[in-house]
């Protein structure tokens, strides 16, 4: 009995992970109120957690959850009926829908996809802060629990709960409609969605702190969401670009840390452990984006750079000249001093450290990267390769002072020790 209960609980969790977006989206369309729909979906989930272990898992669990959500919506409207006749009418009108839904065909598959897309656009609406969008996207689209989100971002559960409650209120106060944005707003709104997904991914990928496994899970969740989005908006090259970039980076996860959890630099990774299937998926995503014939945007170009690394059997086999070109293109579509610094690193591999050092010194002169820890570390590396050990030592020392990351500090300290002529 208790194993049945445990398996029923697992079933609830599994259904929720896969179906939550569709359930919230369907209920949002039904109630025309995103905040209410989110509450109803959570109530339906709670009812499933209580009921399924006792009565068994229903034949169509997703439809069951939607039907419960709708029933609760109608109950709520009935309670309000004395106060508001309009809602009562709406409830009667929709009760007819509900009988259809619980009986035969729960969802129209085409309409559902559009609904999920609307949900993504609501969760990433510009009226919300980035933090709020991240929490809302993970909970409503990703089906993560508040606890899981809190653990992934190392904040108290209450903080995530409050963030979500406030975000829902903000969406309601601003009367954000449940719709795909109009054409003139579409590019900006889509780019907001992509940057939220990328933010989630980076939170997992950069793994500045916290237990490694949870962070990798978060990056994988972002990848899953990017794949879903690419299916929903197949005609947007940057969506494929972002999905491709994530595929290429996640492919390296098995080789990224050693047994003790210490990071392994790209150059030192055991490339035989990279996930070939994910690399193939990345290539396919990039090709789908390219096939649209509108050129590559910032995500597509970063994906292409990641592909160059993933395609090389060793560091020396890497097509550095191509990477330099790709960074140049990236610098044109999305100018940034960080891109310039990366280009300099690629130049150092393609043409040698002297040319690269000139580029880095130009960057230093602009002052744009003051305080950016990678700048002294890159400059130190180039100086070391040029045999200018004393200057390299000064740069590594500066880089160590600027990093807050323990593991990064360890890598820099070992470089410092490795310098020729380093005393004691």
């Amino acid at each position: 009995m208790s194993t049945d209960q445990a398996s029923a609980r697992r079933a609830v969790a599994a259904v929720w992970r896969i179906e939550s977006a569709r359930i919230v989206a369907t209920l949002t369309r039904y109630t025309r109120d995103f905040a209410l729909a989110e509450d109803l979906a959570q109530e339906a989930l709670a009812e499933a957690l209580a009921g399924w272990p006792v009565h068994g898992v229903p034949a169509n669990p997703g439809a069951w959850l939607v039907a419960v959500g709708k029933r609760r919506a109608i109950d709520g409207w009935r309670r309000d009926a004395a106060r508001d006749e309009k809602y009562a009418e709406l409830a009667r009108e929709r009760e007819i829908d509900e009988t259809d839904a619980s009986g035969g065909t729960p969802w129209d598959p085409d309409a559902i996809d559009d609904d999920v897309l609307r949900l993504v656009f609501i969760a990433c609406h510009p009226v919300l802060s980035r933090e709020a969008s991240v929490a809302l996207t993970l909970r409503t689209v990703g089906g993560l629990t508040t606890d899981e989100i809190a653990r992934a971002f190392l904040v108290p559960v209450a903080t995530v709960q409050q963030r979500i409650v406030r975000a829902k209120k903000t969406l309601a106060a601003a009367a954000v409609p449940f719709e795909v944005p109009p054409r003139d707003e579409y590019p900006a709104r889509l780019s907001a969605v992509l940057s939220v997904l990328y933010l989630i991914f980076n939170e997992g990928y950069a793994a500045a702190s916290g237990p490694e496994w949870m962070r990798a899970d978060l990056a994988r969740e972002a990848l899953r969401l990017a794949r879903v989005l690419a299916e929903l908006v197949p005609r947007e090259p940057e969506v494929h670009g972002l999905a491709a970039l994530m595929e290429f980076l996640v492919a390296r996860f098995p080789a990224r840390v050693d047994r003790e959890g210490h990071p392994i630099l790209l150059a030192d990774q055991d490339r035989s452990r990279w996930d070939r299937a994910l690399i193939a998926r990345g290539r396919a995503a990039l090709a789908r984006g390219d096939a649209l014939g509108r050129g590559r945007g910032p995500y597509g170009l970063q994906a292409a750079i990641a592909e160059c690394h993933d395609a090389a059997a060793t560091v020396d086999d890497t097509d550095w000249a191509r990477i330099v070109l790709l960074y140049e293109a990236l610098g044109r579509v999305a100018p940034s001093p960080v891109v310039e610094l990366n280009r300099a690193v690629a130049v150092s591999m393609a043409e040698g450290p002297a040319t690269a050092l000139r580029l880095v010194d130009e960057l230093v002169a602009t002052g744009e990267l003051a305080g950016y820890g990678l700048l002294p570390s890159v400059r130190g590396e180039l100086l070391a390769r040029l045999g200018r050990a004393d200057e390299a030592r000064a740069e590594f020392t500066r880089a160590i002072a600027q990093t807050a990351n323990e593991r990064e500090r360890a890598v820099l300290e070992s470089k410092l020790r490795g310098l020729a002529g380093s005393g004691a």
Binding site: P126, V127, L128, S129, K169, A173, A174, A175
Partner: protein, 157 residues
């Protein structure tokens, strides 16, 4: 619920505002916002304001912008513009803040726009222009030396 009583209760909220109880403040304001129709510019401005005052600046930006887009009466819009510009400055988004202040024509606020403009310029690393902005308005308040003060200020940037 009449218009004046809602405004009066919002004023009362701010009179007893206590940022040591953030959750309580948010809940009370949420109830006030709930009384207004969705998309109401005044409610959005207050919803932004409560976040701003609680140090949740990132989350104040959206409601402030939505309030301005929804169409506030001019004088209220001017105040929200100043608050939004100040919030953006605190978030390091100085170019957005400057853009707002550049488009602001609010004689009823006296030197307040210039004051915030100087702050934003300073935060943007344009300290000479910041000092110039501040001294230019200060020059008008001097009992004497006004002409030379204006000229010196003009030379700064």
């Amino acid at each position: 619920m009449s218009e004046t009583s809602w405004r009066a209760r919002v004023d009362a909220f701010w009179a007893e505002f206590d940022d040591s109880d953030a959750e309580g403040c948010l809940n009370r304001m949420r109830a006030l916002v709930d009384e207004r129709p969705a998309g109401d510019p005044e409610a959005l401005a207050e919803w932004g304001g409560v976040h701003d005052s609680l140090g949740l600046e990132e989350e104040a930006v959206g409601p402030y912008r939505a309030a301005l887009a929804a169409g506030l009466p001019p004088e209220h819009a001017h105040q929200v513009t100043i608050q939004l510009a100040s919030t953006l400055r605190n978030l390091g988004r100085t170019s957005e803040a400057l853009e707002l202040l550049d488009g602001l024509d609010a004689p009823e606020l006296g030197d307040a726009p210039a004051f915030f403009r100087a702050l934003v310029l300073h935060s943007a690393g344009r300290s000479a222009e910041a000092l110039q902005t501040a001294l230019t308005v200060l020059a008008e308040h001097l009992p004497r030396y006004q002409r030379s003060a204006r000229a010196y200020a003009a030379e700064l940037a």
